[in-house]
Symmetry: C2
């Protein structure tokens, strides 16, 4: 076994192993791929008593292969609540799985966590990979209506319909009637808009430094202009507009944002606009915006408040004593 | 401000920001560099109520610039205990700071954590960057006696003498008489050997999947052959030999190793050899080797047991009630 590691390729593979053991297994042992009903499991990594599964599948709505991570808690109940974590610009499903520190608390509460990717990939659309805030890694959790992204970038339908259907097949123990959603930055926008557009689908919702009023910030302007055909479509993906029209269950909305977050200070996030928009609505007084002194936009911030967000979800998804 | 972000460079910088806010500050704001008495602070990131500092300094013993991270806990006592975390092959001081999740527990106990780099860098020694397990990122916490590494790779002296001296100047609140050490893999070897070679210098010691008997494994054979002039020097950097000759304080040695760790199953780690070597020594019965069922070699394993190792250190470094 050792001899092979002396080769340059072996050396590279072991570098990968130390950082990403699942990739190592993929590189050296393609035969360990196990085919389930709907997804391929490329690695199973034990952590906090549970298992982090590296999964991939073909997406019909996005027309490409999609990767994701799923944390399956230990000693889970017969029906396992599920919390979606939607990641931000430039991320994949790996970043928060590695750096977010949600797993010890998800393990404690017996909640599964799903980490989808942040966009379709590999369509080779001209310019698709040129921007850090548009195209690959920047799907903005919407269905594109503008060419050349129309028909290829459908992250809204992917997260709200296709992926859950695949997950319920892959994990029959998951409780499809007990699902929560959270996310970071662009993923916080995704969590808030998916919750508000689908009353009752998600039993809990929270967000870390979410883009809360995208129609009024540079990130949203660039994304909506590039993905959506008509400005009349913008409100349908803006949490600060959707909350005004929402009718349905009203769990508390927990939002954390760091005061040293340069995107917050630049006016990209605008969480106060969501609070203002909630006045006089069913969520009046139910949006708990916590401005965290001195914290930035990074995973060092997310991990610090991960326990609070998992506990928030558990309050609605489980019978856990908090 | 926004216009600059539209440039390719700006885009790349923001990609970096989201992953590594400190690098972003470096890229966009070199003027934020602050010079202290002995080190440059390139970023200060709030996490778990404390601060993660990104530091760099010139190293005399290694003849190059060295980077490190230091976590300074919140509400720290007047004299702050310090825990060194030595990282493994291919890592820098960043990996465990981002993925190890020691900070919430260090914050709880008021312990500072120091994350040094794993080797000198940039000497441009022929072959220095060719192997993942030798040269850059693989300093093995020894002083090289063999050319061309002699006089350039002195990680033992760096960790045990030069870096602490610089830290005590940079952080006068740190308690130089209350220091512990831990590490992962090659860094576990470093933690065990530095502890055993310097009786009384470290008040606590533990390790995650340490290389415990390097003279008898392929990694150690390659490193010792490459860095050391004579085989007679090998025992002086092998924990399973050093423990036989140790005379001094004998705090418990906590070692965790995953049974699904492919390096363990390949015989690279050999923690049982350290336990066997401790028989009849002052550490007889004091080496607590915990084989953790199903865990691998990754940070998913380290983060799972981080709390136990910080608590173990706190037992010797603080008056914390555990």
């Amino acid at each position: 076994m050792w001899g092979r590691f002396r080769s340059k390729l072996g050396q590279r593979r072991l570098q990968i192993l130390i950082a990403y053991p699942y990739q190592y297994r993929y590189c050296l042992h393609p035969h360990i791929f196990t085919t389930h009903s709907t997804m391929n499991t490329t690695a199973t990594i034990k952590t906090f008593g549970g298992e982090l599964l590296k999964l991939s599948h073909d997406s019909k709505v996005n027309g490409c292969k999609m990767d994701l991570n799923v944390f399956v808690p230990p000693n889970a109940p017969a029906k396992v609540p599920v919390l979606f974590f939607l990641s931000g610009l430039t991320c994949t499903g790996n970043n928060c799985a590695e750096k977010g520190f949600l797993h010890p608390f998800a393990a404690k509460h017996g909640i599964a966590i799903v980490y989808p990717d942040t966009s379709p990939r590999g369509h080779n659309i001209p310019g698709e990979d040129d921007s850090w805030d548009f195209g690959s890694g920047a799907g903005f959790y919407l269905n594109a209506t503008k060419e050349p992204y129309k028909g290829k970038y459908n992250m809204y339908q992917y997260i709200s319909e296709e992926l859950p259907a695949l997950l319920w097949q892959q994990f029959p123990q998951f409780d499809k009637d007990n699902v929560g959603i959270t996310g970071h930055s662009m993923g916080g926008h995704g969590a808030l808009t998916l919750f508000l557009k689908n009353p009752g689908m998600y039993k809990s919702v929270s967000a870390f430094s979410p883009i809360s009023n995208p129609k009024n910030c540079p990130w949203g302007d660039k994304a909506f202009s590039g993905y959506l055909n008509d400005k009349s479509e913008w409100d349908d993906y803006d949490a600060s507009e959707l909350i005004k029209k929402y009718k349905g269950p009203t769990p508390g909305i927990l939002i954390d944002c760091g005061t040293a977050d340069n995107f917050y200070t630049q006016g990209q996030l605008l969480p106060e606009n969501l609070v203002a928009a909630s006045k006089g609505t069913e969520f009046d007084g139910k949006v708990d915006l916590r401005l965290q002194d001195g914290y930035d936009h990074s995973y060092y911030f997310i991990s610090t408040f991960a326990e609070d967000h998992v506990n928030h979800a558990a309050k609605y998804l489980t019978a856990s004593k908090l």
